[in-house]
């Protein structure tokens, strides 16, 4: 072991970057070719590096960590307010969340027909809107991948429908009025359509699959239905008939039977709100 070994090892220290072929580097390379000790040194460095990498291995951040982080970002974004300019797609997704909340609100209040008190609702809307924008999600056009991603993040099983006329873009989990749900996003031409599945309010639990309901809120169309424990809704800036087609295909794919549903049946409609 000589000083030459130390110099060669420093000059040829393993890295994945380019190394200039200076005369001293070439000299060091020639030394290593003839030096068994240096060759063993570099081999052991490589093995130690591999051992460390293997020992740590892949890690998946727990859902609680993701949730905490994205809520923190969401709060920070709310505080920064108008610094961000949402795109049309984002506005659609955010507005969709608001519309769904409206539906949930109407359903929760059904029986007394009182609309939610605006002053009390506004902060909730703002909070939920910001939360929806900041939630973690997955970008994928693969329904299997999205199903796998959703598995474990929700307390209910969710079918990811596939449509010939709309392409799958991704999904995210969200919380609407303290109820966990999922938003699955589709591109339909230039428009974005959101498919929501949210745990239904215990106060309005249904015992069978309902008929489709339609609503309009701030220019967005909504087609929703329920099955025991879950509320489904398609929301988007497309025609109601388009949403109805998607909803029907979704139900068919999920294998859900809708005894009450047929094309000729009059559709019960929520009260439109402009």
């Amino acid at each position: 072991m000589t000083a030459e070994c130390g110099r060669a090892r420093r000059l040829l220290w393993p890295d994945n970057g380019p190394r200039s072929a200076t005369p001293e580097v070439i000299e060091a390379q020639e030394h290593v070719e003839d030096c068994a000790s240096c060759a063993a040194f570099f081999e052991e460095m490589s093995r130690l590096s591999d051992d460390v990498r293997r020992s740590v291995g892949p890690t998946v951040a727990p859902f609680e960590v993701r949730e905490r982080l994205f809520k923190a970002i969401s709060r920070a974004r709310t505080q920064t307010g108008s610094r961000f300019r949402p795109t049309a797609a984002l506005v659609a997704a955010g507005a969709s969340a608001l519309i769904l909340m409206f539906i949930l609100g109407i359903r929760a209040l059904s029986g007394n027909n009182n609309p939610p008190a605006p002053r009390g609702l506004v902060p909730i809307l703002a909070e939920e809107h910001a939360r929806a924008l900041g939630e973690s999600g997955i970008r994928s056009s693969d329904p299997s991948e999205i199903s796998r991603w959703l598995n474990g993040r929700l307390s209910f099983a969710t079918h990811v429908p596939v449509f010939s006329e709309a392409s799958l873009r991704g999904a995210r989990v969200l919380e609407v009025e303290r109820r966990r749900g999922v938003l699955i996003e589709y591109a339909l031409g230039k428009d974005v359509v959101s498919y929501f599945v949210v745990a239904d309010s215990p106060a309005v639990r249904t015992t069978s699959v309902s008929s489709l309901e339609e609503a309009v809120w701030d220019g967005y169309h909504v087609v929703s239905w329920t099955e025991p424990g879950l509320l489904h809704a398609f929301v988007g800036n497309v025609s109601e008939s388009t949403l109805r087609v998607l909803a029907r295909k979704c139900i068919e794919q999920a294998g859900t039977t809708m005894a009450a549903f047929s094309e000729s049946e009059p559709v019960s409609s929520s009260k439109p709100v402009s």
Binding site: R9, R47, S49, L90
Partner: protein, 191 residues
């Protein structure tokens, strides 16, 4: 934040975090020595700092290394503030001292011992967690996360030679600890 380019998607920061959250969490976990609660706190500090300075990220392609730079710097600031084990780290090696340390390395490990090491991944993680934070950060960024030494040196704001000497010191400590563990195991097997 106001300096975002017009082409920057509004949720670009969330998407960036979402894309790298697993590896960020893995690194955070190792940087804090495996304590999950500390890793979560570190990660939250990191993403909030990242969110605050997202406008400074000029090239979206560099998002991963930018996030990791914030992560390791946030951690080192926390460590320095807490002044944990600062007395054990000492100064970085000069080129001459580094060469002497490199020359002093003796490769005396057998293939069987390497095999033993592979079977004791958990043990190696514990040894890694026991390294000084400055050494651990160098090894995790390069060996675990696969950043080039140039990138890692930039993240840690140190010269590349200093980073190389830290990686070497970390590996030397790991090897020494592994050898001690192996010797202990063999001694126990004999008795």
């Amino acid at each position: 934040m106001a300096q975002h380019s017009r082409s920057t998607p509004p949720r670009a920061f969330e998407e960036l975090v979402s894309e790298h959250i697993d590896s960020l969490y893995r690194t955070a976990l190792r940087l804090v020595g495996g304590r999950s609660a500390d890793a979560e706190d570190l990660l939250q500090d990191t993403v909030l700092r990242g969110f605050e300075h997202f406008s400074q990220l000029r090239h979206q392609d560099a998002g991963r290394s930018w996030l990791f730079a914030i992560l390791v710097r946030t951690n080192l600031n926390r460590v320095r503030t807490a002044n944990r084990r600062a007395e054990q780290f000492g100064a970085d090696l000069s080129d001459r001292a580094f060469e002497e340390a490199l020359a002093a390395w003796r490769s005396n490990i057998t293939p069987e011992e390497f095999l033993d090491r592979k079977e004791s991944a958990e043990g190696l993680i514990k040894l890694l967690d026991g390294l000084h934070p400055e050494l651990r950060a160098a090894v995790v960024l390069t060996d675990v996360e696969g950043f080039s030494q140039r990138e890692a040196a930039r993240m840690l704001e140190i010269p590349e030679g200093t980073l190389a000497s830290r990686i070497f010191r970390a590996r030397r400590e790991l090897r020494q600890a592994l050898n001690e563990n192996s010797s202990g195991l063999r001694a126990r097997e004999r008795t």
